[in-house]
């Protein structure tokens, strides 16, 4: 306080001192915040990790990951998470398979085909998409998509891998589109210009020059999309049926790691082993997200060098 009053009285010397102190204080604050973030992240991993291995005292890791019978309240209980992990992967993989081509097309439209129209209409539309709460996607999926699949595909009740994949693909579409569009926009205009100057057609330029050059950004977008899809619980739970089946077809009801964790949460008071098994599933989810981030780091770094 004293220095501040001093600073106002003497405008030549004191400000430097006070600016020095504010600089120091701000720097300290930022460092503390950064450290806190790192500690928080490590704490999450350490906590989940400390609980996640307890279940292996009851079932072997081999059984946990490869067995496909999940019945924690059965007598005797079964903790085979294989089908659940496959369920997650199948739904997410399908979502990416559907969303990636669509997103790339949208991004190319935004940046290459018609920039003016893209900026005026497509980009705001995509931004609105990002903000739609997942329960809305789930509800639309449950009331429109699921009955439609049931009618057209003779797929039982329509609660299945396909429904989950479709709902998730719409959810991750805006993420992949906007990150891919950003990557395309960051490219040097000279790249396209040289390609055209060499006589390449527009398609050749896009396919052979622009997309490969923007690949790191596109992969990053795809990975973020997959990470979001992997962690989504609510919308998926409403449309996949929550039955831990092995996803042998698109029309079979499945469960995912997130839906099992939410569904079995109330049971954990009942069965401490189940509590531990859910922690293991949580760690598997964390592990997948870690792998995704590592891939992103690797891809983006290779671009720089």
């Amino acid at each position: 306080m004293a220095t501040m009053i001093g600073a106002r009285r003497d405008s030549r010397r004191a400000p430097r001192l006070s600016r020095y102190h504010t600089d120091r204080a701000a720097r300290g604050g930022v460092v503390v915040a950064a450290l806190l973030l790192i500690i928080l992240l490590l704490a999450v991993y350490a906590f989940i990790g400390s609980k996640a291995f307890l279940i292996f005292g009851k079932v072997s890791p081999l059984t946990f990951f490869l067995d496909t019978t999940w019945d924690p309240l059965g007598r005797p209980p079964h903790y085979g998470a294989g089908a659940i992990i496959l369920g997650s992967l199948s739904v997410v993989g399908l979502a990416l398979f559907i969303a990636l081509p669509l997103s790339l097309s949208a991004a190319l439209f935004l940046e290459q085909t018609d920039q003016a129209l893209g900026e005026r209409i497509l980009r705001p539309v995509i931004e609105v998409f990002v903000g739609i709460p997942s329960v809305v996607y789930g509800w639309v999926g449950l009331t429109i998509l699921v009955p439609y699949i049931a009618r057209t595909a003779d797929a039982g009740a329509g609660l299945c891998v396909l429904a989950g994949g479709l709902v998730l693909s719409v959810m991750i579409l805006p993420t992949i589109t906007s990150l891919s569009a950003d990557a395309l926009r960051r490219l040097e205009p000279s790249l396209a210009e040289s390609s055209y100057a060499l006589g390449a057609t527009r398609w050749q330029t896009i396919w052979r020059v622009l997309l490969p050059a923007a690949r790191p950004g596109i992969v990053t977008g795809a990975i973020f999309g997959v990470a979001r899809a992997m962690g989504e619980a609510l919308a998926v739970a409403m449309v996949v049926g929550n039955v831990p089946n092995v996803p042998r077809s698109l029309f079979i009801p499945v469960a995912t790691m997130t839906t099992i964790i939410t569904q079995d949460l109330p049971n954990r008071a009942l069965n401490p082993d189940l509590n531990n098994a859910l922690y293991t599933l949580a760690l598997v989810l964390l592990f997948f997200s870690l792998v995704f981030i590592l891939i992103v780091r690797r891809v983006t770094r290779s671009n720089v060098s």
Binding site: L73, T143, V146, A157, P253, D264, N267, A269
Partner: protein
């Protein structure tokens, strides 16, 4: 301001509830209780929650100093919170003995049966069958019968079974009253966490969906068929006259180990729910429950 006070009181209750875990005998409130004050927490069953909330409003109006905090999280969570005094009251669709492995402090839990809840078997609109025998219901839910034609439907129609999670009190009741030793199909169409979604699923299934829900949750606009059980309509009147069998008691558990201030409020609250004024009041029938005294006998799901 009032909210903060309530929050403070809640905090204080929880702290003292956890701190004090001795053994004192529970005494139920006198028939004409004087107004009580303080805060009690009730937690657990989602199915019972509307009734508890209705009672809470009436109770708080009669006892201006009292606050009841109603939380949900499933019957088993309610039971375990009551046993550990994390809540003063554990709301449950199932008896405490249903917990496996058994609850800690299970012997100190006091059961208060507060209402009777009827359940109904529901089917998709395409199903023309109007009544199921116990055997037929068992065959359908267990997956032994996969075509509605085999239980009397005029045309061939696939059976789609919608189950509830194993924590569901509805599933527990259905398993004990209808299935007995028969187990549910291993290949259901879905395992649906909440009542309204299961009604939605069955109503929009174009084949032959089947499931079971609390009677009060099915509205005229729900788009599902309510099936008779052993030739009897699912109505409160038929539960009362003893002909309709799929019902169970709703429970509110307190623990004799709960010596907090909230325990007194909790006992007064349960006395209010058991009073004639509430049992024969408007809320209980409107929400699809039946007064305890009106139903004689026990349900297989009571133990």
């Amino acid at each position: 301001m009032l909210r903060n006070l309530a929050r403070f009181a809640l905090g204080a209750t929880l702290v003292s509830a956890v701190a004090a875990c001795g053994s004192s005998t529970a005494t139920t409130g006198s028939p004409t209780p004087s107004p009580v004050s303080g805060t009690a927490t009730a937690s657990g069953s989602t199915a019972l929650q509307p009734l508890v909330s209705a009672a809470k409003d009436e109770f708080e109006a009669a006892n201006p100093g009292a606050t009841i905090t109603v939380g949900v999280g499933g019957s088993f969570q309610g039971l375990s919170q009551a046993a550990t005094t994390a809540a003063d009251i554990g709301d449950s669709d199932v008896p405490a003995g249903a917990a496996n492995p058994p609850l800690a402090n299970a012997s100190q839990l006091v059961d208060h049966q507060v209402a009777v809840v009827p359940f109904v078997i529901i089917a998709s609109p395409a199903v023309k069958v109007t009544s199921l025998t116990q055997k037929q219901a068992q065959d359908l839910i267990s997956g032994t019968v996969t075509d509605w034609k085999d239980v009397g439907n005029p045309t061939s129609l696939k059976v789609h079974v919608y189950l509830r999670p194993k924590t569901s009190g509805t599933r527990y009741t259905f398993a004990h009253v209808v299935l007995g030793s028969v187990s549910e199909t291993a290949t259901p169409q879905a395992i649906v966490p909440d009542t309204n979604t299961v009604i939605q699923n069955v109503s929009q299934d174009t084949a032959g969906g089947i499931s079971y829900v609390a009677l009060g949750s099915v509205k005229a606009t729900s788009g599902v068929t309510k099936l008779q059980y052993n030739g009897v309509d699912a109505t409160p009147a038929n539960v009362i006259n003893g002909t309709y069998k799929i019902w169970s008691h709703e429970h509110m558990y307190t623990c004799t180990c709960d010596t907090s201030a909230g325990a007194t409020v909790a006992r007064a609250f349960i006395s209010y729910i058991l009073s004639d004024k509430f049992q024969h009041g408007e809320a209980i029938t409107k929400l699809g429950f039946i007064a305890v005294s009106q139903v004689k006998g026990t349900s297989p799901a009571d133990s």
